[in-house]
Symmetry: C2
Subunit: 225 residues, 2 copies
């Protein structure tokens, strides 16, 4: 009986990893679709989000069934509740990748991103994808150090975001308002995507240590800044 239970718990973990992989791939492809103005790829990402939504619905149903049938306590209970939260983070990340792809579609056959910002947006897309790959790794390994690393990686995203804003605010900006609006929203999408990846990792930290990631980092003087 308990074996079937732990199998079910494992399968919830596997679904989370699959969701993380799907949304990580989605943000990468969405970025390419935008930079290359590739409509087929954009449509592909947009349609693909349904898979993520389905996985989340299915995961939620299984988690609730598991709570009802097995009535886990202590750590097992925390795992199930935390899985529900992680699935919400991942589902939302999928939406954000979809938003990027929708912007690509909206501006097709142009690229929503002016040439001189391609490098920055490409970096943001790649970093977002890397963060999500690490989040998946953290779900699998429950590696607290790796999880705490994600916050540092997220600082990189903040830097890139700031670079984007500097471009926007530069007096030499010559791409007009519509592009400024697009780039503002894009920056926001990548930043939020990264936030969700970090959030997934933090939840694993909480699961493993019983402490919130912020508390652990505050306790370590080097990270406390």
């Amino acid at each position: 009986m308990r074996d079937a239970y732990h199998e079910e718990l494992d399968s919830i973990g596997e679904s989370l990893v699959e969701m993380a992989r799907l949304v990580g791939s989605a943000i990468g492809r969405a970025t390419t679709s935008m930079l290359d103005a590739d409509l087929t790829l954009a449509e592909n990402v947009i349609a693909g989000d349904q898979k993520v939504d389905d996985l989340q619905h299915d995961l939620e149903a299984r988690a609730i069934a598991l709570l009802a049938r097995q009535q886990p306590v202590a750590t097992d209970l925390r795992i199930v509740v935390t899985s529900l939260r992680m699935s919400a983070d991942l589902e939302r990340s999928g939406d954000l990748a979809q938003h990027v792809a929708k912007l690509a579609r909206l501006r097709f056959p142009q690229s929503a991103v002016p040439r001189d910002l391609h490098a920055t947006i490409l970096e943001m897309g790649q970093l977002a994808q890397r963060l999500m790959a690490k989040a998946a790794e953290v779900i699998i390994t429950k590696d607290v150090d790796l999880a705490l690393q994600l916050e540092q990686d997220d600082d990189e995203m903040d830097l890139l975001h700031r670079t984007l804003f500097q471009h926007l605010m530069d007096d030499r900006w010559k791409h007009g308002i519509e592009t400024a609006v697009d780039v503002t929203l894009l920056g926001r999408y990548y930043e939020r995507f990264a936030d969700h990846a970090v959030s997934v990792a933090k939840r694993v930290v909480y699961l493993v240590t019983g402490e919130h990631a912020d508390e652990i980092q505050a306790a370590a003087p080097v990270e406390g800044a």
Copy 2:
């Protein structure tokens, strides 16, 4: 024993209502702080978000304790799990109100919003506050019709959002890039805030009917559009 249990369940509901009231008030005050460039009010909203975060942490801890101790099944289990999700929506709404207030603080002593957009932003702020008040009402009354109404109200937000974009894209836009960026982000904050209010209401629908709000609306031809 069951009485203490239902008291605890009620108190979780009360916390949700309190959170909804706090974030509804926060978005209203944040809007005022921005339109009036009122720094004290902005600081007030920014600091006040801690209360919302504390309520959420507390609610989560109580919900998990309740799952562990009482091991509810069926409807009661659904109520607890759904409450966790609603609290996440409300916590995030609080963040969004805080973002508006932070923008007010950043641009002080100027207003982040140019004069000719005050009316639209004021309407967005008021609508956001109204939506959250309705969401609180829905939590209290579990009124499915009222909950489904929120989606219609949200269409109003989409309209206002579109008005904002029309202003931005108008060739006569004369407020420069920085303001365009501010207004773009603001529009996004209000839109997301409204989404979370709608999401809270939808979750109540699911709780009461066992069906997702979209399914109910799809079944009613008038609403199906």
